[in-house]
């Protein structure tokens, strides 16, 4: 028992940074991210012997985070305040690129399942099949959810009067990336 707990502690400490970051990009809110990670780790600890025997612990925690996030949102389904854009301490290594607050804000308007699809695909770099497995849905659903999720910031940017950047794509290009049958 003590060995199992030690193993869990080593796992949790070693993966804490990436789990928190994953939850942060998923929720857009550092405090909800911390709550989600704690909740998921508690559930993982309760099933730790099974998780380490049969599963990839990180994938298990990630699934727990996503499922909890989606289910809580469904239960509460109400307007939430958008968290501030991240605090940005000066760092010469990253200072060249400004934080994309517009896109961050656009992500915050997505339903959690669509946002989860984007995070799993573009942050975790999971394949469509792995994303489908993580979300417990079909590959077709992942493709359609990805298309819908990307359509919102794309439309928002396309109507931008500044015209500095546009995310509008030609129909042909869009189809090649997201068409469910390609």
């Amino acid at each position: 028992m003590a060995d199992e707990q030690d193993a869990f502690d080593v796992f949790a400490r070693g993966r804490m940074r990436e789990l928190l970051r994953f939850a942060h990009v998923l929720t857009g809110d550092p405090h909800r991210a911390a709550d989600l990670v704690q909740d998921a780790l508690e559930r993982t600890l309760m099933s730790w012997d099974r998780v380490v025997r049969k599963d990839d612990p990180v994938a298990y925690v990630r699934r727990a985070i996503v499922n909890r996030h989606v289910s809580v949102w469904r239960r509460q389904r109400r307007e939430r305040l958008v968290a501030d854009t991240p605090d940005t301490p000066y760092d010469p290594r990253t200072a060249k690129r400004a934080f994309d607050g517009d896109l961050w804000a656009a992500l915050s308007t997505l339903p959690p399942r669509q946002r989860a699809v984007l995070v799993l695909r573009y942050y975790e770099d999971l394949s469509e099949a792995d994303t489908a497995a993580a979300l417990g849905c079909s590959v077709g659903t992942v493709k359609s959810q990805t298309w819908k999720a990307l359509a919102k910031p794309r439309d928002r940017s396309a109507t931008d009067s500044e015209g500095v950047r546009t995310w509008t794509r030609s129909t042909a290009t869009r189809s090649s990336a997201t068409c469910a049958t390609c």
């Binding site: 301490p89 573009y122 794509r169 990336a177």
Partner: protein, 427 residues
């Protein structure tokens, strides 16, 4: 090329989601709290199971009584069962009581005097303080805030550390006078020997270096320290520059014998490191790529201090007086900044906080805080918030800064125009 990479939105999305600024400090979730939460869940699950079992027992027993007893006597049977059921519920409810969340492992702030403050962002600060006089044991306190100083929580400290500043040339290894953090997780306590944390200050460990650490600063993934190089009987001690990656304890002396006469001063801005020494030592800077010697604006001084932003400010203490110099090229060249407060030469207690390019904020006892330009001109910005002794001025950006005045911590959000005192209280 991956077809996804052809879409600018998808490229921007990848860039956004992998932006380093979205990383969170790991101590937002504590492992002991996870264990406590899991224990609560197990108890709750056991309680629910017990209650469900009791309900089943009551139902079965009630059904049996109803089936086997005369209708008139049904009152006593269910009452007994109900009592048993109530007993189960009480036990279950007791079992389901939440386990108290472990209290913070650090001692409560308890009105401690602020000794040192470090900021890793405009909102995150860590403060070191002491509840007793210099030299007291068990009186050090450490607190952190993630909301710009609105609320604080305590952090643990190595138990055998002593508050204070070691005398020059002494070997007071367990004395602690300063704290710095180079990231949300990686920090150092120093003054005597060096203590490091890599979990946001929740645990500290000793890092072996040859002698006391006089100054320490971190930026751009590296931490730099001035370590006493000769404190065993010489008339004048030397400070030598050491360095390590921020997340590791792999300390090495910087190649090239970067040594100055103690007490040295250290400033780090991005990848540029500047070291000044007292007496006749040269200045060192790596602004040209490698460390090289240059003219020391504090040549002949007894003490030196540095405050760095885009412009570096050197305070050169010559006795009871001090003079200032500024550099816009990482310490390769310096110009005098003859600040005139109207009261003669600056006192040795003058404090300078660099603020952006070509500007600093000046603190002189009894005088209002003033903005200081490279040519030495002063613009009064704020009355001393309270008391007189400004012991620290530092800015996270042009607007947000912190001051330690009469051992209390103050914050400005408008570039020193106004200040408000931070109330440090921890459970």
């Amino acid at each position: 090329m991956d077809p996804l990479d052809r879409d600018p939105l998808e490229r921007d999305l990848r860039d956004l989601l992998t932006d380093d600024r979205l990383a969170l400090t790991t101590h937002l979730v504590r492992i002991d709290a996870v264990h406590a939460g899991a224990t609560r869940r197990r108890r709750r699950r056991a309680a629910v199971t017990a209650v469900a079992g009791a309900v089943v027992v009551v139902a079965v027993a009630g059904s049996a009584l109803l089936a086997h007893q005369p209708r008139a006597s049904t009152g006593s049977g269910p009452a007994t069962s109900a009592s048993g059921g109530t007993g189960h519920q009480t036990d279950a409810a007791r079992a389901a009581e939440p386990t108290p969340t472990p209290t913070p492992t650090g001692a409560a702030w308890d009105g401690a005097r602020v000794m040192s403050v470090t900021a890793t962002s405009t909102r995150t600060i860590v403060v070191l303080g002491s509840t007793g006089d210099s030299g007291c044991t068990g009186c050090l306190r450490l607190a952190e805030s993630h909301d710009g100083g609105a609320t604080f929580s305590s952090l643990p400290l190595p138990s055998d550390r002593v508050a204070g500043t070691p005398e020059l040339g002494s070997a007071d290894g367990n004395v602690v006078s300063d704290v710095r953090f180079g990231s949300a997780d990686d920090g150092w306590l120093f003054g005597g020997d060096l203590q490091a944390t890599h979990d946001g200050g929740h645990s500290w460990h000793y890092v072996q270096l040859p002698a006391n650490v006089r100054a320490l600063e971190a930026a751009s993934g590296r931490v730099w320290a001035l370590v006493a190089a000769n404190e065993t009987g010489g008339d004048l001690a030397d400070d030598r520059l050491w360095s390590a990656p921020v997340g590791e304890d792999d300390w090495q002396p910087v190649p090239g014998q970067v040594v100055v006469t103690a007490p040295g001063a250290l400033a780090v801005q991005g990848n540029t490191v500047t070291v000044l020494g007292a007496d006749r030592s040269p200045a060192w800077s790596n602004a040209s790529g490698t460390f090289s010697k240059g003219a020391n604006p504090c040549r002949g001084s007894l003490d030196t201090r540095l405050s760095g932003s885009d412009t570096l400010w050197a305070t050169c203490v010559t006795g009871t007086a001090a003079h200032l110099a500024a550099s816009n090229d990482g310490g390769r060249t310096w110009t005098d900044a003859p600040a005139d407060t109207g009261q003669g030469s600056l006192p040795n207690s003058v404090v300078v906080g660099a603020r952006g390019t070509g500007e600093a904020v000046l603190g002189v006892p009894t005088l209002p805080l003033a903005r200081l330009a490279m040519n030495g001109s002063l613009t009064e910005v704020a009355k001393p918030p309270t008391g007189e002794l400004v012991s620290y001025l530092g800015f996270t950006n042009r607007n947000v800064g912190y001051a330690i005045i009469d051992s209390a911590l103050w914050r400005t959000d408008d570039g020193a125009g106004t200040w408000h005192r931070l109330d440090i209280t921890t459970p």
